[in-house]
Structures are given as C-alpha cells and as structure tokens.
C-alpha cells in the first residue's frame, strides 16, 4: 500500500462522494417494514459465502493470509530492539567482543557488567559477561557504541519468562557455533552506514 494518500493532508480539495442515504422511516410500521426487509433479504448468506470461499482458498489453494503465531512469526524490522545477541566472527568463529567495556560504560541503566583477563595468548579475554534484563530498558546504546558490532539487538521480542536472568549470560546471547552459517549481519541500530566508505580517510601504508 502506498503512502501517498496519507501524505496528502490538504483535505479541502479532495473529491468526496456523499453516501446515498435514504430517509429514515418515521412511523413504527415503516420502521418494522425496514427491519423485516433487511433481515430476510439473504445478505447473511452472501457474507457466509465469502467466508467459505476464503476458507477453501486458504486450505486447499495455499492462499493463507494469517500467520500461525507462535508457530510462525512475521519478519521484524532490523531497527527493532529486542533481547541482545552476541555475534561471532564469520571467518574464525571466535566471538567478536573484545572486552573494551564501552557498552558497560554507556549503559544508562547500569545493567551490563563484564570481567576480563589476560589470557595465555596475550589477548584480552572476556571471562564473563552479563546483562541484567530486569533493569535493561532496551535503549540500544550498547549496540550503537560497540566498535566491533559484537553486541546487537536480536528480533527475539518475547521476554516473558519465570526468570529474566535466564537470558543474560554470554553463552545464551552468543550465536551457537553450529548456527554460525545462519548468523545474520546486523543492519539496525549502530550498524555501519551504507555510505561509510565515502567518509573514511585512507591511511597510507608503507608495504
């Protein structure tokens, strides 16, 4: 559906058609006659016919118009901010998070917390990471500030559970390693802008 008609807010110049309304009956007898006429006209079956036809189309011709929620879900806008996901690097499968702590710092409800350590490969390892979803207001700042596109908002909007804490560990949010091929690149809040290349100044290299 186009949006043109909504965008035109100049109401006065549009063409309106006046409904063909008959005059309301005045006497009790005339009122009764109108009711009886409308009741027994058979329009009920016209509507019923439409229903049966659509049911037939949906069941036997594959023209279903509704979604079988919760078995099926509609795709959601990438800008929707639901439960966080932690992405992995597509090449190595290693988690993207470098433990810089910016999400922890920017979080306005102070619900992100992380522990880091110096690992055997002289790298910073995120030894623990948690988001307290009891406090999270899904503002999206963490995804926006993340320099690695590691923490993003996923489409999982059903947040009802017995314990909100059950969403919150690093492993829960991390893309399962066997589903790495299914990992979607995130283009919502905080993603690289489509014209990012134009804004980058190149650094000379001596190699």
């Amino acid at each position: 559906m186009g949006l043109e008609q909504f965008k035109n807010r100049n109401v006065g110049t549009q063409e309106y058609r006046v409904l063909d309304l008959q005059e309301s009956p005045k006497t009790p007898m005339a009122k009764f006659a109108q009711v009886a006429k409308r009741t027994f006209k058979g329009e009920l079956f016209v509507g019923l016919g439409v229903t049966v036809r659509e049911m037939f189309n949906a069941l036997f011709r594959g023209q279903m118009h509704t979604v079988k929620y919760p078995l099926e879900k509609l795709p959601i806008s990438p800008r929707y901010r639901a439960i966080h996901e932690m992405l992995r690097l597509l090449e190595s499968g290693h988690y993207r998070c470098i433990g810089c702590g910016l999400c922890e710092k920017i979080c306005i409800s102070n619900c992100i917390s992380m522990d880091t350590r110096y690992d055997e490969n002289q790298r910073k390892e995120v030894s623990e990471y948690t988001i307290n979803f009891g406090r999270c207001i899904f503002c999206g700042y963490c995804a926006e500030v993340c320099p690695e596109l590691a923490i993003v908002h996923g489409p999982r909007y059903e947040t009802a559970s017995e314990q909100r804490a059950s969403f919150s560990l690093f492993e829960d949010m991390l893309t399962p390693i066997d589903k790495l091929s299914l990992q979607q690149e995130y283009d919502g809040f905080g993603a690289v802008s489509p014209n990012a290349d134009e804004n980058i100044k190149k650094t000379p290299l001596a190699y």
Binding site: C100, E148, L205
Partner: protein
C-alpha cells in the same frame, strides 16, 4: 628551583598577551602550569630533567621557537603558545606518533587516560600523512611486576627519565629498535621538528639497562605510573579493568614513614562477587614518587571480618586486666590517641619497641636544640639542596623518600653527597659522580657526625672543646712519594753515514723521590675513607654549593649513644648551615612518638595490636579480635614531612574497631575520626576536624594535604657533646636489622605483589659463603633463616629482615640495629 615565592625572585611574563608572574629561572612549561595555562607536553616530568623527546611543547618566546620544557623564563618574556607553524609541527608530531600505533584502544589498559589518545584528539588528528614499515616488537615481562608492550611504546623516555633522575635505579634505558630508515622524501616535505622527533623514535625502544631481559631494580613501578600510553603496565593489572571503572580513594601509603599520597582504585571484584577490591594504586607522579610497597602492597585488608560479640567481650575483659598494650607504628594518629587515653585512664603501659627508641632520640634532640622537630623535608631537599649527607640509614631499604631525594639532588641540582653507612651499597655511588661513601664500622656513627662538624661547621660558633677534639684527629706527616718526571738528556751519537759525532737531545722518563707534607684527618681514616685523597675530592664537591641537607636514619635512634648523637645533630644544626631531616622508622612512627607516652618494657598481661601478646587484636585476620586494616579505615598519619595527612577507607569493614572498645572501656565519641580534632595541640597538632582536611596538590606542585605540624622553637644553648670511644666499633660477625626494599611490616608481607622474602640478605660473596640456610645466634636467642644474595650489597655484614612481628626480631636485637652474632649453616 627555589620554591619560595618572594617579590625579588618573581619575573613578569606574558603568555598569549596575558600577564603572569613566574619564579625566576623556572622553565616556561612549569611557569605556565603554575599559572594554569595549558601547553601540551608529553615527555616532560616535573621533577626530572627535560628529555626533549616529544618536542610537542614547542612555543614561541620573544619571536623565537623554543621548547617550553627546557627554556627558562626571563623578565618581560612574551610567549605565544600557538602559532600556525607550531600548530603544524604539533599536528605532524602527533601523526608520527600514530604511525603504526596499534588501533587497539578497545582492549588497552590505558584507554581513557591515555595521553596519546588525548593529544591526538586535542590536536584534531583525523588523517594520516606518514607511513613506515613496522618492526616486530614482542611483549616482555621485565620483572615480577613490570609488563612492557613495545608495540604500544612511543619512546617518550619518561620511564627511563624517572628511573634515573628520581628513583635512582637507572634500571631501564633506550635500546636499538632496528626499524627501517625513514623515506628521504619526508625530510623535505614534513615539518622540521616532527622529522627530527620521528628520526629518534624510529631508532629506539626501551629495555633493561643491564643488557638482559630482566630489570634488576627495586620494583617500585614508578615507570608504570609515568607511562603516558599502555606500554608499561603492572603484570597483575593487564586487561583487568578499564580506567574509568575504578573508583579513586585518596589515601596515604601505610608502610614507609614518607606518607606518600596515593589513590586506592577499587571496583567490584567480579560479576559473581560484588565485594569491592583494590585493583591498583596510582599517584600524582608529577609531584610524588612512590616506592614498591606504596604501589604494590595494597591488598592487606582484613577480609570478611564480622562483629563477633564473644570475641569483643573477651577483648574488653583482656583490656581490663591488661598491664601492657604492645603495638607498632602501623596505626593512625587517632588510634594512637585512643591508646594514650587508655594509658591515662586505666594505667596500662604502652610498649612499642619500634618507636620507643625514636621517641627517646626525638626527646634528646628537642632538649638539645630547642626545636620540636627537624628543620627540612625531602621535598624541600629536592627543590633546594645541592649537597646531601646521609647518616645512619640503609638508604635503599629504610626510606624510599630519602633515597629519591638523595638521588634527585645529584641528578637535577648538580649536587654532591656524603653517605655514611657500615654496609656498602653499589647503588648509592651510582647516583652521581660527586658522592663519597664511607663504609665505617658500626658504632662509629658519632665519628661521622664529628667529621660533618669538621667539614661544615662555622669555626667561630663551635665550642672550644669540640674544636680541640676535632683538631686532635688531624696530623700532618711528611711522606716520600715517587713521581715520574720527563727529562731532556743530551747525548753524543755517532752518525753512521758521515762518521761524525753529533749532539742529540732525547726525552727520558725518570722516577724522582720527593718529600711532601700530607694533612691527615684521623676521622676520615677511622670511617674507612682515605684522608689523603678525600681533602681534594671534598674541595671539588663543595664547588658552587649553597644549600646543605642531612638525612638522619634509624641506626642513630637504635644506638647506645643515642643521646650524644642527638646532641651532635643539634650542634650540627646550630653551627653549620645544614638542614636536617629524620626518618621515622616506619609508617606512623612520628605520630606515635608525638602522641603516645611509651614505656620501656612490657609487664603483666599483654594485649598485642598487630603484635605478639596474650590477647591479640589483629588487622591481619589472625588474632583474637579483628581490627580494620589501614585500607579499611579513615584517620590521619603524621609523615616525615611533619605533615598530618588524611587517609580514607577504600574497602568496607564490618567488624569492631578500636573505637568500639574505647566506648565500652572509657567512653568515646561516635566515630574514630571524631578524635582528629583532639590530637594534642601542645605537640603541634591542630584542632581541625577530619572532614576539613584538604587532599591534593596544586598545579605548581605545592602539597595541599592536611596541615603542617606547628613547630615550636626556643633559644637553646649549644649542647655539650661527649667524645666518642673508638673501641665502640663492632668487630666480627655482625647482623643488621634491615628489611629488603618494599617490605616494611606484616601488611606488605601479606600483599600478593610483594615477593621479597623474609630472611637474611648478604652480599653475593657472603651469601655464597653462608650457603642456603643459616642459624643466627644472638645473645638472647637464635633464628633460622634463608640466605638471600643481594647484588648491590658489599661487605660482610648481613641484613636480617624484621617485617614479621611474630618472628620477634626486635626482641633479638634489643636497643641496637647492629649485633654481634654467630652464624651457623643449617
């Protein structure tokens, strides 16, 4: 150099058209900082010599481009901080620093407090014009605490400068980087200073100066503190926390008596364990340099203490029947005052062998000099003195603040120094060229003081007897010395070609005997010096010297002749222009000495506070009742600089405090810090509430912590001093009570980043002779200890650690730091 602002030594300067006043002879950069004008600078350290590595402090003074860190202000000087050319240079310099600097700010420990980040943003560097192939640079661990990532290093040389000019270890230096040469084209195209700086940068990196991959230093970590980037980090702190996550708690180092200003930096331990933990200690490195204990001994808290009512009641009972309270100097002024109150109201004895000798010494000094405290402090020495004398302290171990001052004077004030100590120390003589070390026999400390009188005293002021006594050591003798002289000898030689004899002159070396008169000073020889050469050497040392200081150490307090020594020091102060500073033995020894009325011995039932006793109060968590450790309580310390400084609680504590006991025993105010204004005013303390005590340094480096003790001074007649007995010199096998650097007490021992072992330290040769483990027999008992070799020690005297209270080392040594012992291999 002179820190006193007077009308005479101030000059008027203009910075960017605004008039300011500056101390004459000060560097432009310091003058600007003192006036709160910002000039960018990376490599300069306030109390060290300018390195000129970064060149970013370029300014224009009277139309000429100069480096603000090494150009001095002159009357009427007009300074411009930014000109188009300077801005271009600065931007180019920052671009060069960013060449090949890893883009790993996200993981870097310095991120958020990194000067490279700050100046890159400050100078708006948003593009890069230069490039050079990178060199492989591997991460190194230099010692048990130092972690160096050369990849992040910008070779500003702040670490090497502070290590040399302030700490004195000179343990790190620049080394070859082995990088490629800079593209010739850049020489033409880029700004001049930036090119010169890049040229230097591309050639060097930092490495241990002893040629190995391990530093042989005191592990003070000051290089970590001054590093502007993440290249130098404490090994324990690597990737542990971001700077901005840490809460800074202003405090005082609880270990040495310097009372260094530190910040405990805390945050919750981990996600599961939300208890606060100290992650590191930082300092205002432009104004104060820490030792290893102050920086790394921070996790000595008494964890998980609870209010154990049974133990508390037992403690109350113990105090009621106590004859003595034994404690040490790890205690705040407030707690010391509480103990003194207990003494006054309940009549218990206060026993503190660590401080008692110092207190007595101080009393003798006060009686002899009429002054309540000594006249100078280490900061003033660094700012003004150009001649320092150290008597009676193992400078490297006892007092880091004094060691830094001794070294700093040599390096920055073109100073000279005399070091009197029985144990030879190779580090001290490496501080400068004009240092004479006297490794005298223990017991001859008085001779050292007489020598100082001889060398520095105004003869007019000296009492006749003293003058005569000193002169009695002087002899002159005639001596025949052999001298080599060149002589011209004429000789007749037959010319082989002509056959004629010719006269030829030849130069011949000849040894001639010559008689000369040599002035000998018996004092110098007695102290192990060589009086023939000393006179000349001393004349050289005294050239252009104006301000003299003397550092007095613990050996003199723990001395049989302490009273005479105190008088000699008073006499030195009265008859020479030498200013004196004394090192209180440990932590808050000065506070205890001033506040408490200590007793000479313990009698009856003893309550030990962090010490042995029948009932033990302990902040170490191993006593009968828990007490808060120094990082868990607020209160004040009295430092060597005669300052009363506040310290704050970095970590929570849930147990009972001494004040709770006081409430039950004799009645006490609500909080420990309510005692602060009650500190004795007759001893120089002021009635200032704890919360009104300031903490910090101003931009011109003035210390603004707490308050200075009031010093009273009355006219006193010159003290009558006694002669010394040469026979007092100790001979034979000698043990010296002295801790390794970084160890001061049980609390430093408890800290996980302090590795110095409890044992007997000996010079390499002596350690080899002793073997691995020895039994040291004193007249009062014996102790078995491990032998540890200390490369920097010389001679046969061994150092016995005393930092574990439970080992009872003070009892073994008694009233002296030196003891004749028998050492047996075990």
């Amino acid at each position: 150099m002179s820190e006193v602002k007077t009308v005479e030594n101030m000059v008027n300067i203009k910075i960017d058209g605004v008039e300011y006043q500056a101390v004459e002879g000060e560097y432009i950069l310091n003058a600007a900082r003192a006036n709160e004008v910002f000039i960018p600078a990376i490599c300069y350290l306030t109390r060290c010599s300018p390195t000129l590595a970064c060149r970013i402090c370029l300014v224009e003074a009277d139309g000429k481009q100069v480096y603000a860190c090494n150009a001095k202000v002159k009357e009427g000087m007009e300074i411009t901080v930014n000109t188009p050319n300077i801005l271009e240079e600065r931007r180019a310099i920052m671009e060069v620093y960013d060449v090949n600097h890893p883009l790993q700010c996200g993981v870097c420990d310095k991120s958020g407090e990194c000067e490279l980040q700050n100046y890159t943003l400050e100078l708006n560097v948003d593009s890069q014009s230069y490039a050079i192939p990178d060199t492989k640079r591997e991460v190194q661990n230099w010692s048990s605490v130092l972690h160096y990532d050369p990849g992040l290093c910008i070779v500003c040389e702040r670490c090497t400068t502070v290590c040399k000019d302030m700490i004195g270890d000179a343990a790190i230096t620049t080394t070859k980087r082995g990088g490629e040469d800079i593209d010739k084209a850049f020489k033409e195209s880029m700004p001049k200073d930036a090119y010169a700086m890049w040229n230097k940068l591309q050639k060097s990196l930092i490495a241990p100066s002893n040629g190995t991959d391990q530093t042989n230093c005191s592990d003070c970590g000051e290089c970590i503190a001054v590093c502007p980037v993440g290249a130098l980090v404490s090994r324990d702190f690597v990737y542990q926390s971001n700077a901005w996550d840490l809460k800074r708690v202003p405090a005082v180092s609880a270990h040495s008596s310097d009372g260094f200003a530190i910040y405990y930096e805390t945050k919750p331990r981990s996600i599961e364990d939300r208890r606060e933990k100290i992650f590191r200690v930082t300092n205002e490195w432009n104004y104060v340099s820490l030792d290893g204990a102050a920086r790394f001994a921070y996790d000595f808290e008494n964890e998980d203490a609870t209010k154990d009512e049974a133990a508390f009641n037992a403690a109350v009972e113990a105090f009621k029947k106590a004859g003595t309270i034994r404690f040490n100097s790890v205690i705040t002024n407030e707690e010391a005052l509480m103990l003194q109150t207990l003494k006054e109201k309940m009549g218990v004895k206060l026993y503190n062998p660590e401080v008692r000798a110092f207190q007595k010494f101080l009393n003798h000094y006060q009686a002899a000099s009429g002054r309540s405290l000594w006249s100078t402090d280490t900061d003033t020495i660094m700012k003004r003195a150009d001649f320092v004398i150290s008597v009676g302290s193992a400078l490297r171990n006892d007092s880091p603040g004094m060691k830094y001052a001794f070294n700093n004077v040599q390096k920055l004030n073109k100073g000279a120094g005399l070091y009197f100590h029985p144990i030879g120390d190779t580090l001290i003589s490496s501080f400068g060229k004009s240092i004479e070390c006297f490794n005298h026999k223990p017991g001859l400390e008085e001779a050292a003081l007489y020598l100082i009188l001889d060398l520095f005293a105004d003869v007019q002021k000296l009492p006749e007897e003293v003058k005569a006594y000193i002169d009695s050591f002087k002899t002159s003798e005639t001596k025949t010395i052999k001298e080599k002289v060149e002589k011209t000898v004429k000789e007749m030689v037959k010319n082989e070609e002509t056959g004629e004899e010719e006269e030829v002159s030849k130069k011949v070396k000849e040894t001639v005997e010559k008689e000369i008169t040599v002035e000998k000073n018996g004092l110098v020889d007695l102290l192990g010096g060589d009086s023939e050469n000393f006179a000349d050497a001393f004349d050289k040392m005294m050239k252009k010297k104006e301000s003299f200081s003397m550092m007095v150490g613990e050996d003199l307090y723990f001395h049989e002749k302490a009273e005479n020594i105190a008088k000699l020091i008073a006499l030195i102060e009265a008859t020479t222009s030498i200013d004196v500073v004394m090192a209180p033995p440990k932590s808050n020894a000065l506070g205890v000495a001033l506040i408490c009325d200590l007793d000479d011995e313990a009698t009856g039932y003893t309550v030990g506070y962090n010490e042995n006793g029948d009932f033990r109060l302990s902040a170490l968590g191993n006593g009968d009742l828990d007490m808060p450790a120094m990082n868990q309580q607020e209160g004040t310390f009295t430092t060597m600089s005669k300052r009363v400084v506040p310290t704050n609680a970095a970590l929570p504590y849930d147990g009972y405090e001494l004040n709770d006991l006081m409430k039950v025993l004799v009645g006490a105010p609500e909080l420990t810090i309510d005692w602060t204004p009650m500190l004795p005013t007759q001893k120089g303390y002021k009635a200032v509430a704890f919360d009104d005590l300031p903490y910090g340094y101003s931009n011109d480096g003035r210390e603004n912590r707490g308050y200075l003790l009031d010093i009273t001074s009355t006219e006193a007649a010159l003290p009558t001093v006694e002669k010394f007995a040469e026979s007092a010199a100790l001979e034979g096998e000698i043990a010296y009570r002295c801790n390794p650097a970084r160890q001061f007490n049980d609390f430093t021992d408890k800290s996980h980043e302090i590795f110095e072992a409890f044992g007997v330290y000996a010079s390499t040769a002596k350690a080899e002779e002793l073997g691995e483990r020895v039994e040291i027999m004193f007249d009062k008992g014996s102790i078995v200890m491990d032998v540890i070799a200390d490369e920097k020690m010389e001679g046969d005297i061994v150092k016995v650690s005393d930092f574990r209270a439970a080992a009872g080392i003070y009892d073994l040594f008694g009233g002296s730091r030196y003891k004749n012992v028998t050492i047996k291999k075990v």
